[in-house]
Symmetry: C2
């Protein structure tokens, strides 16, 4: 399991990687353990439907485990804000439903064959069912929010849902286009990934009825954590070992997805390297040997290091945003999760 | 344009078809004209996004016109309830966004080539974009509802959205299965079509703050209207002229969709006819000549008449539900729309 960690040289920007806590996520899980168990029960109970295929398919992806990172953020943020009720448990389930819906729709879109190490719902159940069960989970998330009864929470999560869709469409528009700017790539990531991280965190402050500076600080933590998370994900697509990550290496490459590693490798490349990227990414003309060559070019050009360094800066910003909260075990755990996000290659 | 009307013998159950008003929809449009214009402006304004592909694709299906039947119902119901504000205009736009999102996702699902006489968004923009823009419109609908600020409306429409998805998944499960009961088929229709009709109508009473018997009466009107609408749609798939309806005849047949016409023709058929339906619908083995034969078997077995008679009974129930409201031009227009729904073959 340490293979990839050895293969990638994580950058030492701000000492982030050096401080990385391999089991930061476990520490967070331990701190919100009872809430997470309750959230998992809520998820299983509320994805039920008289139409049996819905819980069957949803279970394939929801109950298959996953890290539950987004609902964990809601639970942890609420705890850090001193919240003592149960609303955060159900809202964390909403966050996971929205995430799962986007995964199901992303599977249709991306034709990826592996997700979390299992064959994707799409591969098993087909495109139709994935789209429709995604729609069900999305609608169910809003039903849960209505039961919770906070228009503010509904506003935050409906805005996040619209922003996610915008990010996904923008990603589609930039596909195969090497002239995409880094700024535009970051806009895609901000939409498709960071928006839900931000909303998941912000909701924790809202249920605790905390002042707006704490709410905004949590949203900023979530945004930066989401950016770091996605950048590392994009780097791992050219570096991770399939067994380690449960994700197919080279998915992004095969789809001609424009990510920071690709932009960095293209910009740093010589004429021959650029020709390679134009052929494989822009013209979508790839042979079996091309992924290995892409990974080699990434290493040589420093594109992976560049991407991870950028991710580390976002992780630092995430940690910085936590400074409005007093020191506590949960704050330390959230800070460690930011480091973990950047170092989660082992 | 009268070709299909001549081809199909509409049944005289309850005199529904005989009373049919060909331009009942125009009458309704005239009564709520200013509100509909405002609703169309709201639709165009709120489907905008900095991601240009979103309004482009959405315009293809939203702004392409369509009958705007569902938002019309919200506007008319609100007017019948004496509502004098502007909330119904924006909520009617929400209803249309939810409808459009399901159309976009249904296009992905059904691979239908024509929708409202234009090539489908899916055929023009691809599956990916259709799924994601559908997601955007769905999220945007919830943002609009949050702006409206009524948790009750949010509850009604989020419940409808979940029910639509359940109906669509149930339809998927029954596909190619001739042992599907009529009851199960009706459950599919209740979910995929009637739920949004019901919600669209009910919302009109909610904004006008009317007592629950009026709210329930409007929901019942909408449910029955939606049932009638879908049954006629299912009949037209085996009878309509493509130019007349802007819908490809035979879509359902080619997909092996289980609809009442198919169930009725199968049940009324002799051994040879049953063999035909098993081969074409259950085994999905079809030749070019099979659609004509299917349409012939439908006519001979009386399956189209059976379906339209069933639709007429739903239309009658829809009209009956309006009896709690005093007579008025808008109530008469809504009653005529129920008749129009059954007779809209000319």
């Amino acid at each position: 399991m340490g293979v990839v960690a050895n293969r990638i040289q994580t950058p030492g920007v701000g000492g982030v990687a050096a401080l990385a806590e391999p089991d930061a996520l476990s520490a967070l899980v331990n701190l919100v353990g009872a809430d997470l168990a309750a959230c998992n029960r809520s998820i299983v109970a509320r994805m039920d439907s008289p139409v049996a295929l819905i819980p069957q398919l949803a279970a394939h992806i929801v109950a298959a485990g996953g890290k539950r990172l987004r609902p964990l953020l809601t639970l942890a943020a609420a705890q850090m804000c001193g919240y003592a009720g149960v609303r955060h448990v159900h809202l964390a389930a909403c966050v996971e439903f929205i995430h799962t819906a986007t995964l199901l729709h992303d599977d249709v879109v991306d034709e990826s064959l592996l997700r979390r190490g299992l064959s994707s719902a799409n591969a098993v159940f087909g495109n139709k069912a994935s789209v429709l069960v995604g729609d069900f989970l999305f609608a169910r998330a809003f039903q849960l929010m209505v039961e919770d009864g906070s228009l503010k929470v509904l506003g935050i999560l409906s805005h996040a849902a619209a922003t996610i869709a915008e990010g996904e469409v923008l990603q589609l528009v930039t596909q195969n286009d090497l002239s995409t700017s880094e700024q535009r790539y970051l806009d895609v990531v901000r939409g498709k990934t960071a928006a839900l991280f931000a909303a998941a965190c912000q909701v924790g402050a809202v249920v605790a009825d905390r002042p707006s500076d704490e709410e905004m600080a949590l949203a900023e933590y979530g945004t930066n954590l989401g950016m770091a998370f996605q950048l590392v994900d994009d780097a791992l697509d050219y570096a991770a070992d399939q067994l380690t990550l449960g994700k197919t290496v080279g998915d992004d490459f095969r789809e001609g997805k424009i990510t920071l590693p690709v932009l960095a490798a293209y910009q740093a490349g010589d004429a021959e390297a650029r020709e390679f990227w134009v052929r494989t990414i822009e013209a979508s003309s790839q042979t079996d040997a091309d992924l290995d060559r892409a990974m080699l070019l990434m290493q040589r050009s420093g594109a992976i290091c560049t991407t991870l360094a950028r991710a580390a800066r976002f992780a630092d910003a995430a940690k910085g945003a936590l400074s409005v909260f007093p020191d506590s075990p949960i704050r330390r755990a959230l800070a460690d999760v930011a480091d973990y996000t950047v170092s989660r290659v082992s």
